[in-house]
Symmetry: D2
């Protein structure tokens, strides 16, 4: 069985208590603030209140691993230790930010911790860790299959002591958010380099830099995921100082690799929480409704759906925990097969579980009155996050065939 450290267990208890005390009871308030705001991407006041409470409770920046713990007030949590916390936070889709544990900021903070210069860290990492600003990671492009990073087309050209950026990006999560202050932008600085993995660089572009236009928020299914949002961006001769480069020219691919591994795994953990909560709500619901003279909970088909959902959640969770432990032991590279297995299994299974639970709620299950519909959308777009399911299946299939055919 997977064993969590004492620190993780303590965090789990506290987080659970915090959610009972502060998250579930404020769910409606949060939603009302977003929905009634003049600008859907404004910062909801309740968020600052809750963040202050979470920080005070020490439930803050839990995503930071032991290796990078110098930046935070705790000793760091391994992937395995973090998994149950992320699952808990996944039960309420907007709440990870309360704990400064939300995508894409977590991944961006890791990038700053690992690759930022002291100056870059002072300027951006410190306020990010404090939850004062938000950030975005601009990689995906509308015109190319960006899951193959070598397809990236945004141009990063050196011009004197500046870099000049030209190109388009979309699905840039968090970019719409009012407090989003800094974009990490992936582009091609050396498109003719024979080594296809040395063509890319990543540079920092502060929001508001001339030439950087936020064209529109994008929706998935009908959700704009406000207030964070997913933006389409245009870079039109955007100029930043040369020191805004991360790690150095030609290191963009390397940074991207380091960033993506844990990223979708965090999504997986949260989706398990979303599925688990949906199951719990469904269990309540079916004991409260009757059709044709019998409680829903007594219909054999309802029991079967509940039983399958329970089993599938258990399997997803175990797969993700094993993936985490493997990552902790041998790093993301050595866990590539399990990471891919998690990525291709969890979103689709979570989607299926949540769909069943929605259906048990009748038409209401599709509305904003329950968390299922939005969670369903979350699971659905995760099947495209950092590459489509198909890309991960291909890579995993190749690796597994090589392993066993070589025997």
């Amino acid at each position: 069985m997977f064993e969590f450290s004492k620190a993780s267990l303590a965090f789990q208890d506290e987080l659970r208590a915090f959610m009972d005390a502060h998250i579930y009871p404020n769910d409606e308030t949060y939603r009302r603030q977003v929905d009634s705001a003049e600008d859907r991407f404004a910062y909801p006041p309740i968020m600052d209140e809750l963040k202050a409470k979470a920080r005070e409770a020490g439930l803050w920046n839990m995503f930071v691993p032991p290796k990078l713990a110098e930046h935070v007030d705790h000793d760091g949590l391994s992937n395995l230790d973090y998994a149950p916390l992320a699952e808990l936070m996944g039960r309420v889709i907007w709440c990870p930010e309360v704990f400064n544990c939300n995508a894409p900021d977590t991944g961006n903070m890791e990038v700053f911790m690992k690759y930022g210069t002291p100056e870059q860290q002072a300027q951006w990492l410190t306020p990010l860790l404090a939850g004062d600003i938000r950030s975005a990671y601009a990689m995906t492009e509308p015109q190319v299959a960006s899951s193959d990073a070598t397809n990236i087309e945004l141009s990063i050209r050196r011009d004197g002591d500046e870099y000049v950026l030209n190109g388009n990006k979309w699905f840039i999560s968090g970019a719409m958010y009012e407090r989003c202050a800094i974009f990490i932008v992936m582009g091609k600085s050396d498109p003719d380099n024979e080594n296809r993995h040395k063509q890319q660089s990543q540079v920092l572009v502060p929001k508001g830099t001339p030439g950087l236009e936020i064209i529109r928020p994008l929706t998935t299914l009908g959700y704009d995921d406000a207030p964070m949002g997913h933006a389409q961006l245009r870079f039109d001769d955007v100029r930043v100082p040369a020191e805004n480069i991360l790690l150095g020219e030609g290191r963009g691919f390397e940074i991207a690799q380091g960033r993506l591994g844990p990223g979708r795994i965090h999504h997986c953990m949260r989706l398990i929480g979303a599925a688990q909560r949906s199951l719990e709500l469904a269990c309540e619901r079916v004991t409260q409704r009757s059709t044709f003279g019998r409680k829903l909970s007594e219909h054999q088909s309802v029991r079967e759906d509940i039983a399958k959902s329970f089993s599938e959640i258990e399997m997803m969770r175990l797969l993700v925990l094993k993936t985490c432990q493997r990552m902790d032991e041998v790093g993301a590279k050595g866990a590539m097969d399990l990471i891919a297995a998690s990525k291709v299994s969890v979103p689709i299974m979570a989607q299926t579980v949540i769909d069943r639970c929605m259906q048990m709620h009748g038409a209401g299950g599709l509305t904003e009155d329950y968390p299922m519909a939005e969670a369903y959308n979350y699971a659905r777009w995760c099947r495209q996050a950092d590459g489509s399911d198909q890309v991960h299946l291909m890579a995993l299939g190749k690796q597994v065939i090589r392993r066993y055919a070589a025997d």
Copy 2:
């Protein structure tokens, strides 16, 4: 093979041409008007322009069957003849209204034609057929499993020469729409009648009647389906004259039965169009994108998904056509098994087909840039329309078991 009348074939050609000339080219305009309107449920100006053109072209009220053709300018179309027209209109989710063939108005007009008094027809049917007003059908309630109509709780009480309505409704499609003028409301006028099917009545409630409050628009998977919308309503001592009753006290269940049969079948027809268009878009897309050095269209998994989708669309279409022909021949009652088979098969299959086509479009497939995401939502909520899949499966299963076990 299913053979369409000359009239239907002519309509099909004209409708196809009209859509090429006026619908696809105005898709963006329509969406922009809705999205930029101050009130998302306002009437988009382009709609009136297109309606005028459609009416002029004779593509108007095609849903009306031969039996009721006295009300329209053509000879009526059987269900079979109408099916390919509804499929065509289903390719663009908002366009059925252009032809005055949209839910829920079609069903409501049928109710007025079949059960309305001359006065009721003059007041409501005439402007509905002209497309001047819109209507809503208020049946589903938030607190009960309304697919079992005997569960309905809204109270309709006779008081002198008035009826007084009290209760709640939700998922009342079209009720948000600016021009919605009249609600057909199902409720219980005789809750103690021993015959559970005589307890219900339906009365007409004009929008604006005091005590009738539109509480909020509901969303499904993030969509508010503006400008039509799905509303939650409260009836608080709403009073209407006694002559607003339809058909007579205790006849509500009977009217509901007559209305629901064709209703979801129309949805099925349109969903086939939505799936078909998604497939066509996917075929284009996969010839335009490459990943890992090969066109998407050359990936075996893409070809398999396209092939399966083609086959499933073909099967759905045939099932619906057979259902229509049977309804034309023996009426809805004799076609109950096929109607149920269509209802439980088409939405879920359409959802699957559309999901594959979305996935082939990458993350963009989930956005408003393509019609797939909204079509996906349409298919998903149809699995709850007029009763959940499970209710129809139950009824069909029972009927089939009885048929063969009796042998």
Copy 3:
């Protein structure tokens, strides 16, 4: 709706009556004769008795189409007219032979009718049509992916006025059968021909020809499909006279094309019958068994499975009927998309339906006490018959993409 000719309708009635009178009541006898025979591939005596009765009843060679009706005593039945007859025969897996309508003899007889010389017809077609001998069609090879006919490796070499055959075949259905007298063998006579479709020829090899060895019967799942069987063959310098060639050297591919179209469609028709019968048996069963205090037929999950199965059977049937009608109208080539759609849809759907019905029968459903298990095996191996599902999906996907991407 699909309309059958008077001839087909009459055949349907008579066939149904014949099955009630002679097939179902003899099912056990037939099975006992096969299972207790010293040689499982011997001719079961009951078969001759039933054949005599069927022939007398005029239920004989119904597979023959109008174009080839000169060879039989009726006017020929179109694919559409034959479909419901094949479905009926598919209800009892061994019974098509009773009516001389069994694979692979039907396909082989068609080959003889279309491509045989008068001498070849006199020698082989006449006794085949009379049901006196049986035949086999030797195409698939163990070492190559034979669904791509250009992969075929068996060598056919001209040597004076003889052809010499060397190579291996397997899954040669009917080859084990005691009365199997003639093999139609596909091989390469001109492997270096630049036109890959001119390399093949087909020659007639009588059973017993020296050098032709029947190595073993093959099983699928656990079935040997006795008494017909599927054989593995070795050709070791097998010599036949030059006049045993069909149609001419280099025409093998052409013959194969003509043969395969209707072949798997006949399987599809029969599988629908197998699925339909499974459904009927399941309906009976669930009204007879109770678990946990309730009849199986009252469990919601049972009703759902029955309802889905009914709907799926209806859709399969309609797809196959449309395919047949299209083939009748424009030939197999013009119906290629529908043929492929039927091939890839029907076996897998039949397998699913039958699996559900087996499960409703408890452990007994897996045994020889019911027809489901053997029918399940039939559906499963049809997913490999004349090329795997994947091959047909690929071809269909390619065709559909081309159609819509060209628009």
Copy 4:
């Protein structure tokens, strides 16, 4: 991660080596001996040779848990420790017997260890542990839904110092086997007891007892599972001495409960091995075959199927390991939910994985030339072993609903 004891790890290494040296190389011999034997249920000579080797290697009776280790030469293995061994043995369907670890003998030996008197143990357990005799467990009946043990109908009547048995049983695995010497028979000794769980008793019936007739071997999907087989039995006034009762009158239900928990879990472990081996074979196969100018391993759909199979095997394995560990910690009762989750998930997932791997082998995958087809049958009938999937889903669904609805 799940951690195995040193003893388990050592057994795993030795078992793997033993299988490489003795099992895989003798697979063909074993099959030939069974298939060419006059009596398919005779004891294959190679089995005795291999058993001698396994016993000498100390790979013997590994299923015995620590609590019962007094009976064997090792210290006992927990469920968790045994799981990887059972998985390894599951790779070759007939090999568990080589290690005296085959169903149903393992479960029967546990019954004797836990509930047998010293005399019963001396007479039956000792030779069973030595592998000298085989046994059967007679519970399932043809006429009733036996998964509900209270339905059992076989009558056990006390008559003086004897018990008299009357009734029918089927699917009695191992009963056909030549060396099967003893049947543990479940029946009703007190059908009128108000406590439905006190009505049953279990008695020992030696093979050859007058009145006990082995009617026939049963097949599942065409397989007779020779030489063990599944038998149908008739008990016709079968008399055994009163001391042949196990544990005491009215304790039959209690024994059954204790026996079934681990039973199907052992099947689950083995099925994972069967699926894993199928996957490995498929990986080899797809690198060896080409279609349409490309290796199968380069087809995207093949890679997707391999990747999905890998992920599903990983999830099944983790679920079973967690179930085992929970059983080790809190007993079968406390692990009821996980046991049910394993039971309902593993057979169906294994079936799916194996089906894909069969399909990648072409028609050959369905034959006896590869282990997949028989493994597929194994997975399929496990969906009925000790109760159908539906029964376990129902129980699990009920339990999960109760857990979360109570919150």
